[in-house]
Amino acid sequence: MDILQFLFDGLLIAMQPINLVLVTFGGILGTIVGMLPGLGPATGVAVLLPLTFSMSPTGALITMAGVYYGAMFGGSRSSILINTPGDGAALAATFDGYPMAMNGKAESALAISAIASFIGGLISVVFLIVLATPVAKFALKFGPAEYFLLMVAALSMTSSMSKGNMLKGFIATMIGLAVATVGIDAQSGISRFTFNILELQSGIDFLVVIIGLYAIGEVFKAYSEINSGKKIQQKKFGKIWITKDEWKRSWPSILRSTPLGFIVGALPGAGGTMASLMAYNNEKQLSKTPENFGKGEIIGLAAPEAANNAASVGALIPMLTLGIPGSGTTAVMMGALLMLGIQPGPLLFTQHPDVAWGLIASMIIGSFILAIVNIPMAGILVRVLSIPPKVLYPLVLGLAFVGTYAISNSVIDFYIMIMFGLLGYFMNIAKIPTAPMILAVIVGGTMEQSFRQATKISNGSLEIFWGSPLAISLIAITIIFVGFPMIKKSLSKLFPPKKAVETA
């Protein structure tokens, strides 16, 4: 089998000592950034990306895989210990993780979250290995029109599923796409929306937008909590491990939540937050003692953690095979790949299988290393949480700026980044989701190109967009997803839910 051969080669490369050092290094840095309240994997990857600029593509991929996993592990550390999720996906870990820590079971909580994440991630990588090639092969059948519709579908799904209302998601998408139109138009050579600023001719780099919206915007948001002074309660830990009994209780829920998380994660827009909340509610319903949930039930921590990591791997499927990121975090990962000159998409698996499988191999190695780093060393790592945020946030800002400069060597991007940082802050106040905007900025360029190619093929007629069965089914999917929230709303009016499921 070719795939196994590539995977095996990838594993061999990823296990070279230098790469092991890199993944550990990336993992530790990622964990530290991830532990900061508000800063999740997306911010972690965005801020730490410049570190990889001078590395070889392989080294860079491996480091980024480490950062990605590390930030995810880190997010749940702060959920458990200070009841503040690093990002949305770590929210469910606060429900039972924090009560566990309060009950004096911080060690078990830290251990089960790492174990569940590890198992969830690893099993999902197996799913990914099985599914990636068929999906990529299928995607090769897409012409420009289908590709355009696929992006429309992905963007509308993201808008319809993101919190807040769908209209605001659409507005965010439109503005994101508009940001992507800035710069010289590749087909006609005409500069668009550059306001005669030389630096804008090459367009607004999506990484700058991401760092602005995520890093700067999130730091601004965090300022309001900085003075509330949430502090880590426990600084000394015993052996971080779980008892046999705890393991017996948790493993079925981990195995149940993994496929759930993977599927939810693979859908554009759903992502880790939804996956972990669904897994949590699912286990609560299955449990014989649902009243224990929220009071330090270990299953209530194991399930969302497994689902969250599974979702993060599932989200790689549309990103790697179709070139369409399904979440803010995968969008940033895609940005990292593009930065390295790797174009994710169906061709990645046929033309550069070594890169595709190398990334997957480094994720496998990454999850092992991170589990090793996070279980025995968790006691040391969480000391970071006792460093005052008043020191850490300015450093994150400093890293955001140096990262931006490293991308473009231009100060103009500083202003753009500050603007997007403020925009992110205000969007949060107005409850407009930022994820659709990020996705739009990333796919905007390709989306317009496919649109124009399609209309060129059809000599300007728009019929090409419903001219094939594939196109029609993509339109149908879009309509269903856009209509779904409305249908759900009217259904819930007809059949009021028995009991509101606790989500906060």
């Binding site: 410049p50 570190l51 600029f53 001078s54 209209l167 605001k168 659409f170 507005i171 439109m174 503005i175 796409l177 508009a178 139109t181 138009d185 087909q187 006609s188 050579g189 005409i190 668009r192 929306f193 730091v219 601004f220 300022y223 309001s224 900085i226 003075n227 509330s228 005052p388 008043k390 020191v391 946030y393 300015p394 450093l395 800002l397 400093g398 890293l399 700026f401 140096v402 400069y405 490293a406 060597n409 100060v411 500083f414 202003y415 500050i418 940082g421 403020l422 802050y425 106040i429 107005a430 409850k431 407009i432 317009e448 649109f451 124009r452 209309t455 060129k456 300007g460």
Partner: protein, 164 residues
Amino acid sequence: MEKQKKANFDFLSGSISVIFGLIYGVMSYNLKRSPMGDPLAPSIFPLILAAGMVLFGLMLMLKSDMASTKRAFALIKEKTTDNDILSRKMIMLTVVSAIVYAIVYEHLGYVISTFLFVGFIMTVLDRKKIRRNIIISFIFSVMVYYVFFYLLGISLPMTPILNI
């Protein structure tokens, strides 16, 4: 939630979207015509986006009303704590210092400008520990410069006079 009068910024957000869409649309239409192929080709996609912004913006405005936005502003005013005022001040100072940072960045060089910027923000966040802030921001700026310049080979603006 009880039967409360809605308070949200949707009306404002919608109108911003409409205004932005109109400006963007006019700019798209006024783009230079393409010398080859369809002369309007570079404008079509932006025009579609502009139409989307106006349409979705109007829909959002219709779903809400001006009174809700007014209530939302009033609510924010009413609920503002000293902590909020403080954090808003912090944000403003951060933005201002970031703009100053951008202006002096290439003139003062990375190390000096970053030391001032990070040190200043740390002091904005925590006024009491000035000595700690000076030490940490100094170590940070020197370390980042060293890592980027020597280990990663990414050039950052040099420190004037010293030329390192």
